[in-house]
């Protein structure tokens, strides 16, 4: 049984800038891996390369045993890849078609990916909408009539409609209100229990990372600086950058520190510390 996702020695350059440098990881079936790091650390670039929106400069990506290092051109091939990996972006406002209701958005994915009858699709739309907790009204109105949390559920249901083996969550809960974020995180845990799906969670929020994932890689300036089980990395961070991230989380009695620049800075993303 191959891993759901294998990423090997992945590298992406934009001109002189090395956005992603020698990044390798795997995600097994039903596992959840977090990629943490700050803006510019390369974490979203990795997601884009996995779903074929960017072409790696070098390195290898494979999902469910199928190589996808180079973005697919042919529609049929793209469709096949869509069955393996789906993504939910941070901003549900811009990732949904403003003219499509939740039902239409989910149905479109079902039509593209499964050769089902209208009746069967309708049944599945209802199932998926129910899974993410959308009520009757919310299923039939355009996105503008939904709140941010509701839209994000539509985006999740739509991604799940393709029945992917891996769901990439690119800061998918970051913009949600705290009370809604908890609902969505619980929902994601339920879906994993029910379907055995794997998650690749891209996040800067260490508490969310702790809640949803078992493994974590910490990125800085394009390179992995630390990796391991989420609990161990957060409880006993080894790399100074991970320690700094951990220290920067507000808590009772927190004394925020100045001088982030005291940290050794790798030149243009070159790996300062081997892992």
């Amino acid at each position: 049984m191959p891993d759901v996702l294998e990423v090997e020695k992945l590298r992406k350059e934009y001109g002189d800038l090395v956005a992603v440098d020698d990044v390798s990881f795997t995600v097994g079936e039903g596992q959840s891996l977090a990629v943490v790091g700050e803006s510019g650390s390369g974490k979203t670039t990795i997601a884009k390369m996995i779903i074929g929106l960017e072409r790696p400069t070098s390195g290898r990506i494979s999902a469910c045993g199928n190589d996808r290092s180079i973005p697919a051109r042919a529609a049929g091939k793209r469709r096949l890849r869509g069955r393996e990996v789906q993504i939910v972006f941070q901003d549900p406002y811009t990732s949904l078609d403003p003219r499509h209701s939740a039902e239409a958005a989910i149905d479109e994915v079902l039509r593209i990916h499964h050769g089902w009858t209208a009746e069967r699709r309708k049944e599945r739309v209802a199932q998926l909408a129910g899974l993410v907790g959308l009520d009757g009204r919310q299923r039939s109105v355009p996105p503008k009539s939904l709140s941010g949390g509701q839209r994000q559920r539509v985006a999740i249901a739509r991604a799940l409609a393709a029945e992917p083996k891996l769901l990439i969550l690119d800061e998918s809960v970051a913009a949600l209100d705290v009370s809604i974020q908890a609902q969505v995180l619980n929902l994601l845990a339920d879906i994993r229990d029910a379907t055995g799906i794997s998650y690749l969670l891209i996040s800067h929020d260490l508490a969310v990372v702790r809640q949803l994932t078992e493994q974590v890689i910490v990125m800085r300036k394009g390179s992995v600086v630390e990796r391991g089980p989420t609990a161990a990395v957060l409880d006993h961070p080894q790399h100074p950058y991970t320690q700094l991230l951990r220290e920067s989380v507000p808590r009772p009695g927190w004394q925020p520190q100045r001088r982030i620049s005291a940290l050794p800075v790798g030149d243009r993303g070159a790996a300062p510390v081997p892992v």
Binding site: E38, S39, S147, G148, G149, Q150, D177, V178, S179, I180, Q181, A182, Q183, L185, N186, A189, H204, L206, A207, V208, R210, Q211, L212, T230, A231, L234, D235, L244, L245, R246, E247, S248, V249, P250, R251, P252, G253, W254, Q255, P256, Q257, R258, R259, I260
Partner: protein
């Protein structure tokens, strides 16, 4: 003991019974909030709670067409009765920093131009003097004075936010209104900006109204924290007690809903439903009651008042009954 949130002599800022309506909708439904000189007060709430509108009202920056009632007094004088000259003076004493610094600078003007504008226009400071003060203030927020000759697009978000803070402090204000100033920043940059704010508050005796959706951040950096829901303040509490002994079920539920960085939980204690905005809230019932784990039949028929309790305030009919039982340790 004097209730901490009551308008009284000696308060730097006193907001009393503030109501704001936009079109047909009521956004703020009676906000009472006081800030003492040098005090840091957090204003926490989810989207639509009215926290930003409260800051806008204090800054006299309400959107066109908004109608307001109630009073806002700064240093004892009514902010909404100020004439143009008085307003300029007020704006020198009350500075503001917003979430998105890029939306609040002129992209074609240099940082130095932007920073010294208020000093030169309103305080009659010469250009050379204003630039010297700006350079000094940049140093205070850990930036090089050569930035004065650069354009906003040459600066990172964190640097630009520090420029905004430095600019805000140039007129030596007594109160800083900071509306989600670190939300768009990375956590390490957030820590840096918060550290700078804490230092400047000490050095300048500056009072702070810190508006955020992040209960933990507010509790960590503010003396007191006010929690808003549906256009009203539902709790005011010493920040140190916010987690261990909150007075309102909503505050307790917010604290419990956040994932914990120190442990993963089988299930998060999510609050059912979604947050209401002020204009959706019922006039004669507790707005939080439909989502509240402690709601009783009376909560659906009576609008609770903000009432003093245990050194803080709570807008909950059952507050006295529930006291001491809502804390993180008590509820876990």
């Amino acid at each position: 003991m004097t209730p901490p949130n009551r308008p009284e002599a000696g308060n730097l800022l006193a907001v009393t019974g503030l109501r704001v309506t936009l079109g047909a909708g009521t956004v703020l439904r009676g906000v009472d909030l006081a800030i003492r000189p040098g005090e840091a007060v957090g204003l926490v709430g989810e989207s639509g709670s009215g926290k930003s509108m409260t800051a806008k009202a204090i800054g006299r920056l309400l959107p066109r067409g908004a109608r307001s009632a109630g009073t806002i007094a700064f240093d004892g004088s009514d902010v909404y009765a100020l004439d143009a000259r008085g307003l300029r003076g007020y704006r020198g004493q009350v500075a503001m920093v917003f979430q998105d610094p890029r939306a609040h600078v002129n992209p074609v003007r240099k940082v130095g131009d932007f920073m010294t504008e208020a000093l030169r226009a309103n305080a009659g400071v010469t250009k050379a003097d204003a630039y010297a003060q700006a350079a000094d203030m940049l140093g205070q927020v850990g930036l090089d004075s050569k930035l004065l000759r650069q354009y906003p697009h040459e600066l990172s978000g964190g640097m630009l936010q520090r420029v905004m803070i430095a600019a805000a402090l140039l007129t030596r204000p007594r109160l800083l209104l900071a509306d989600e100033p670190t939300t768009a920043l990375d956590v390490t940059t957030q820590a840096e900006v918060m550290a700078i704010l804490a230092e400047l508050r000490r050095d300048f005796g500056l009072a702070l109204l810190f508006i955020t959706h992040d209960l933990e951040l507010a509790a960590a950096v503010c003396d007191r924290t006010a929690v808003m829901y549906a256009g009203q303040i539902v709790e005011v509490r010493d920040s140190a007690l916010l987690h261990t002994d909150p007075l309102h079920p909503y505050t307790a539920a917010l604290g419990a809903a956040r994932p914990d960085i120190d442990r993963s939980q089988a299930r998060l204690r999510a609050i059912p439903g979604r947050p209401l905005s002020g204009f959706e809230a019922p006039e004669s019932a507790c707005a939080f009651a439909p989502r509240c784990a402690h709601a009783a039949p009376g909560c659906e028929t009576e609008l609770p008042m903000l009432t003093d309790l245990d050194g803080g305030q709570s807008r909950c009919l059952r507050a006295a009954e529930l006291r001491g039982t809502l804390g993180v340790t008590a509820g876990a």
